[in-house]
Symmetry: C2
Subunit: 238 residues, 2 copies
């Protein structure tokens, strides 16, 4: 019987001699993206990724590097899948379009949004997007503040997607406070908490409503952000 640490289909002969595909960096990243789509970025381990390739963990190190290096490569793939909206659009519409597509792409790869907040600007594939976005704001009249405004919009979008990812993940499953919210609904001594209780109770009991709520919250956040920047632009222009 084989040792349990041996990868599935392993063989003492070389990969070529046994008809197994040679492992390349690209194939490692392919598998990592596949696992991310299926289980999220925190839902697979380096050992699992290696097993997916029918190889040992050290093989991943040899071709790509440590776990962070694999994650960065996945980010690059994800961002690479984004299209740049039509530069002819007004700046607000341009961002609405970009950020609603960003949400779809990031949500399809759970866990990537969290990394994007910090590493987004360093991802090679994001260069064109960043350039176009900052340029939209420069042209709109934000001047020196353009990079700050861009950072605000991009960070807000990624952060709200991260919240959704976390909610689906293991973080949230341990907590069902439907009963708790129900108890607050009639507390006339805590009118704010009562309103919150009514809203949350409905969201948690009517099926499918919670997903719709998070979509709504995302759009609401993006819109308020753009409205706030519009107010700011009027102040800058004097």
């Amino acid at each position: 019987m084989r040792s349990s640490s041996a990868p599935a289909g392993s063989d003492t002969r070389s990969r070529a001699a046994t008809g197994r595909q040679a492992i390349t960096a690209e194939r490692v990243i392919d598998a990592a993206v596949r696992l991310t789509v299926e289980h999220g970025l925190e839902g697979w381990t380096l050992r699992r990724l290696a097993a997916e390739l029918g190889a040992y963990p050290a093989v991943v190190y040899h071709h790509v590097g440590d776990r962070d290096a694999v994650v960065c490569a996945v980010l690059d793939r994800v961002v690479g899948g984004l299209r740049v909206p039509d530069p002819g659009l007004p700046w607000q519409e341009w961002f609405v379009e970009l950020l609603s597509e960003l949400r779809v792409v990031l949500r399809r790869h759970p866990g990537t949004a969290r990394w994007m907040v910090l590493f987004g600007p360093s991802v090679q594939a994001a260069t064109e997007l960043l350039d176009r976005g900052v340029r939209m704001l420069l042209d709109a009249g934000f001047g020196e503040e353009s990079t700050l405004a861009y950072h605000l919009l991009a960070a807000t979008a990624c952060q709200f997607v991260t919240m959704e990812d976390d909610r689906d993940g293991s973080l949230a499953e341990r907590l069902d406070n439907t009963e708790e919210y129900a108890a607050y609904r009639d507390r006339s001594d805590l009118p704010g908490m009562a309103a919150h209780g009514r809203t949350m109770h409905r969201l948690l009991t009517e099926p499918g409503l919670l997903d719709a709520y998070f979509t709504h919250l995302y759009d609401y956040a993006v819109r308020r952000c753009l409205d706030g920047l519009t107010t700011r632009l009027a102040d800058i222009r004097g």
Copy 2:
């Protein structure tokens, strides 16, 4: 020589017989808060927490529960340290005051902001805060939208603090792209990227400027959010 798995100062006799303090849930949480202030929520393990108490990991389970239970107890302590701003303030000022104090408290306990985004409303100590906040918005005229608006403000604040925590943590240290940004500064074919490169290069080379930038970004995010909600309020009323 003692087994390396035995906690420091361990003794086969009972804790009382050896003059060691009995372990209580409160003392476990005290230690967890202390470790969080010092190393962040992700900077300590259950084994380390147990060692801090001179006990075995199973002791933490016995008095508090698993790691998530300890974390929730820490959150409760952190939120409990917040004061509610003067209800006589205009709603915008009320939130500016609340959220700037929130940032200070969360930043003093790195890693807690990430949990607050999802679990904040369930933390017992946050009930009064939530009630007062939603009530401010109800009184301002947000009506049915008050809980949504509150959620937007609280989530935005916690998320930007999370970004700062992540930047200080191990996530960001592996990436110094000062040189990369420098290279983009003169790319007249990528004017947006050039502007971004100039801003980032300055932030990364002039000492202390980066901290100031994140403080500025946080205030900018809170202000834009409030401005956006003010615009929205005019729409609701109009």
